[in-house]
């Protein structure tokens, strides 16, 4: 059982235990779909949906899951919500669904989701698990937003499709290509680590 207050349970996902910057989980979608803000946002929201509902279900039936088959059970629960998310996106946002391609079904294997079930939902109350999932989701969406904003603004000069850079600006095509994802993530991780060390030293 966690000893944090409910507020801390939410806030830890934003920074202290941010799934991308601190835990380095879920890096595949982080690198693959953050070329455009709209794709990053859609990916973040779809993952959040799956994470929050899986946590709710897992934490409410945790007593009935035999520990020998718990991973398989989590995966079945996660896959159910991924299928719902995948079909809903294909129905209501066909264009985004097409852009994200196989990455929506691949949310099933996103380490953040399985990690939270194993580490948190399976041993905490429904309410706490919900808050934890909400915090982790917000942290993930935040990371994807930061990454995709940097990449879209520098790579094409737009933000959510709106022109933000002047005509003088020559887009850095590399930023929307895979190397741009690695460069941006690497620099952001460096900055995150630096901030972490600074705050630790101050304490």
């Amino acid at each position: 059982m966690s000893t944090r207050s409910i507020g801390q349970e939410f806030v830890k996902g934003l920074w202290d235990e941010n799934p991308v910057f601190r835990q380095l989980l879920g890096l595949c979608p982080t690198l693959a779909v953050t070329g455009w803000v709209i794709n990053g946002l859609a990916m973040g929201l779809a993952t959040s949906f799956v994470l929050i509902f899986s946590s709710l279900v897992v934490s409410s039936i945790k007593k009935f899951i035999p520990s020998q088959v718990r991973i398989a059970s989590y995966i079945v629960i996660i896959a159910t919500f991924v299928t719902i998310a995948d079909r809903c996106m294909a129905a209501f946002f066909p264009l985004i669904s097409k852009n994200l391609g196989p990455y929506i079904p691949l949310i099933v294997v996103n380490c953040i989701i399985l990690g939270r079930q194993e580490a948190f939902s399976s041993r905490n109350s429904v309410g706490r698990s919900f808050i934890d999932a909400l915090g982790m989701s917000s942290g993930f969406v935040l990371a994807l937003l930061i990454l995709s904003s940097i990449r879209e603004v520098l790579g094409v000069g737009t933000f959510l499709g709106l022109q933000v850079m002047g005509t003088w600006f020559k887009p850095w095509i590399i930023m929307i290509l895979p190397p741009g994802a690695f460069l941006t993530l690497g620099i952001l991780l460096g900055i995150a680590l630096h901030i972490e060390r600074k705050t630790k030293a101050r304490k």
């Binding site: 020559k170 850095w172 095509i173 590399i174 690497g186 620099i187 460096g190």
Partner: protein
């Protein structure tokens, strides 16, 4: 010294007159012929690119030294100037200076300082900057202009290797002459056009023993053998090894980029493996790759193996086990 039978001292035990600035300034001197030919062939455009790259490299280095609270005097060791010069030498003359500045900042910041500064970088900083520019601005980086010696009034121009790859120059008989390649009267990056100037600079470095002779020789041998086999098998389709040595960035790469002390192996055997690998990959990219030129990628690729090569070719310590 009567009471000291054993002198205890920490390494290095062997010292000589060489120092970082001394080596760096020898490299700058060796680049002088190539710089002069680039100024001669591309005039004002070359001057602007050289100055903006060097200025941007020095500024970025100074900024990082300041942020990391390191002494600013290491700015004057010459390494930032060399990165700037080498980067400018690998840029097309028509490139606008602000893009060159972006490349220089990337070279110093991502190529060198994020790893911890001089001596810690894995990749050649100038080539990191160029690789970034190549991917970020593919059109600007492959727009070539002829040297001012070309009498015909044309706006764009193919490099000798681009001509070879995309225009089927061997069959049409429009291949750039070896004489033009040798003296540098052809299209290309600032510093790669004149083979003569680069050979002069390279010989100076070899003579001063600033660079390891195994590296240029190994790259030279492996490219010659590789292209030679194809040339002898089918001279209708493939060009001679001599053309491949004189054209493109081969000489500047072999003498100035691959031999960077920080990013090349320290053991003789490691240097041979590294050099043969570079030459082979250059040949593979030129013959079968999507790009006309592959010197940059082959050097960056082999750079990644340098720590591994250093580890596996470590000489046996005297008295140590033969295997272990």
């Amino acid at each position: 010294m009567t009471d000291k039978i054993i002198i205890l001292q920490s390494s290095p035990h062997f010292k000589d007159k060489d120092s970082v600035p001394k080596i760096m300034y020898a490299v700058i001197i060796s680049l002088a012929p190539a710089i002069f030919t680039s100024l001669y062939f591309f005039r004002f455009k070359a001057l602007v690119l050289l100055l903006s790259c060097v200025a941007a490299c020095l500024t970025t280095e100074a900024l990082f030294l300041f942020l990391r609270r390191k002494p600013l005097h290491s700015l004057l060791d010459g390494s930032a100037i060399i990165t700037g010069l080498l980067l400018a030498m690998t840029l097309p003359p028509s490139l606008s200076p602000e893009l060159a500045v972006i490349g220089a900042v990337v070279a110093m910041a991502i190529g060198k300082q994020v790893f911890g500064g001089l001596g810690n970088n894995i990749f050649n900083p100038a080539l990191v900057g160029r690789a970034f520019l190549q991917t970020a601005f593919p059109v600007a980086m492959t727009t070539w202009i002829p040297s001012v010696m070309t009498k015909v009034d044309i706006l764009t121009y193919a490099t000798p290797l681009g001509n070879l790859k995309f225009e089927n120059a061997v069959a049409q008989g429009t291949l750039t002459s070896l004489k033009d390649l040798f003296f540098g009267n052809t299209g290309g990056c600032l510093g790669e056009t004149s083979a003569l100037a680069l050979i002069l600079g390279g010989l100076f470095l070899l003579f001063r023993r600033v660079i390891d002779w195994r590296i240029p020789l190994g790259i030279f041998l492996s490219l010659t053998i590789f292209t030679g086999i194809f040339w002898l098998a089918n001279p209708e389709k493939y060009t001679s090894p001599l053309f491949h040595i004189l054209a493109g960035g081969f000489l500047i790469g072999a003498f100035f980029m691959a031999t960077d002390m920080v990013t090349s192996p320290i053991t003789p055997l490691g240097a041979w493996v590294y050099a043969l690998g570079i030459g082979l990959i250059v040949g593979l990219i030129r013959f079968f790759g999507g790009f006309p030129e592959g010197v940059m990628y082959s050097i960056l690729f082999m750079n990644t193996f340098v720590p591994l090569l250093n580890r596996y070719t470590r000489p046996r310590i005297l008295g140590g086990r033969r295997k272990g």
